[in-house]
Amino acid sequence: MESGHIDWDSFFARYRAMALRCATGWSDRASADDLVQEAAQAVLERARREPPFDSEGHARNYFFRTLHNRAAERLRRPGRRSLSLDEVDDSVAPTSSPWQAASAAEDESLASVRQSALEELIDQLRPAQRDAIRLRYGEGLTLREISERTGTPLSTLGERIQAGLKKIRGKAGMTGVTPN
């Protein structure tokens, strides 16, 4: 993962879906949007301070740690009010929410290119591998849930997913479609 400048539009576009799922799992759906928004603001604020993030991975881990901590705080203090954008320092806050900014820029962003390329790679997988990966990662089901839906043994599912991921990684590496 490259160090230096972080493309925040691409960053938020990449991690948004995962963050919302995590926040929903760690708290509840009603709070998830607020929690993710708070964590996004926190990572942007942190990015303005010294020392800067030394890599996108560093920023990513900070973002998810903050999200996890905020979710835990909210469980302990359920009445806690979320931070509104108006309360964030203007020098730090973007003109719109990070998600809106990411969405607006999505068509031209690295994330969008990566997304399309990934779709193509997945379509090239064997149907059984493609279905297993979409259910596991795209829909966020557990192996057990997939097994019950499809009637496929757990061990077979695990093998299909690992084989599919290996193919994606191999082809992505050759074509450079999933840059890190």
Partner: protein, 240 residues
């Protein structure tokens, strides 16, 4: 490729929002120093955007008909019964979060279900999602009648009947779902059956159903124990 299979599974669970507590911190700490796992984490993030939008994965739940009903009017002083019943129904009527998410995703991916009854079942469940519980219940009921071993039709038919407040019919469908299913689906069927029995003021039956659920030692075990603990004092005072 993650550095080992267990890490790979943790990353997948994390991306779905299923990882909890110290395991989250442990994984994030690990990512700081493991490039292969860090790359797999990013691939999981990319893949997470490929599924249905989160709003579709976890739609706002339709009102839980079991919770809406006045439950278990036992022969207790009204105020005491109300307090206890609130505990029983309110505290435990939601399934565990991960199960709830799956239950709410009442659509089945087209890539999984192909042809025959699967098409009919999917169409019926789409009616359920759209709030057309009458037709969903009728169509799922027909599927279940055609094939008594169709656990999914029994189960989701039972949920549709619950939405219609047809509690006795729901009990029949969910009982059949329990008999025809296994694994997590069986747990869910038992859970909803227990709630239905409570709504029908069948405390002893609900106790038996909850004990069966606890015996499976699965995802619902803690919720089932909590509900049973709250139910027992009522049963002790009940002439049922």
């Amino acid at each position: 490729m993650a550095c080992n299979h267990q890490r790979s599974e943790q990353i997948a669970d994390f991306s779905a929002g299923h990882l909890r507590g110290d395991l989250v911190d442990n994984l994030l700490d690990h990512l700081d120093g493991c490039e292969p796992c860090s790359q797999e984490f990013d691939l999981a993030a990319d893949l997470a955007t490929l599924g249905a939008p989160v709003a579709e994965l976890r739609p706002v739940a339709t009102p839980d008909p079991v919770r809406r009903r006045p439950l278990l009017r036992m022969v207790l002083p009204a105020a005491a019964a109300a307090a206890l019943l609130l505990t029983i129904v309110g505290r435990g009527s939601d399934p565990p979060v991960s199960s709830l998410a799956s239950l709410e995703a009442l659509h089945y991916p087209t890539s999984v279900l192909r042809g025959g009854d699967d098409d009919l079942r999917r169409a019926a469940m789409e009616r359920y999602q759209a709030g057309d519980f009458e037709r969903a219940a009728a169509e799922l009921g027909a599927l279940a009648q055609e094939n008594d071993q169709d656990a999914l039709a029994h189960f989701y038919g039972g949920l549709a009947l619950l939405q219609l407040d047809r509690m006795t019919d729901a009990q029949t469908a969910l009982t059949a779902a329990v008999a025809a299913s296994e694994g997590l689906l069986r747990e869910r069927a038992l859970w909803y059956l227990a709630n239905t029995e409570l709504a029908l003021e069948q405390g002893q039956r609900a106790q038996t159903t909850l004990e069966r659920l606890i015996g499976l030692d699965g995802e619902y075990v803690l919720d089932a124990r909590a509900k049973l603990d709250a139910l027992r004092p009522l049963l002790d005072d009940s002439p049922e």
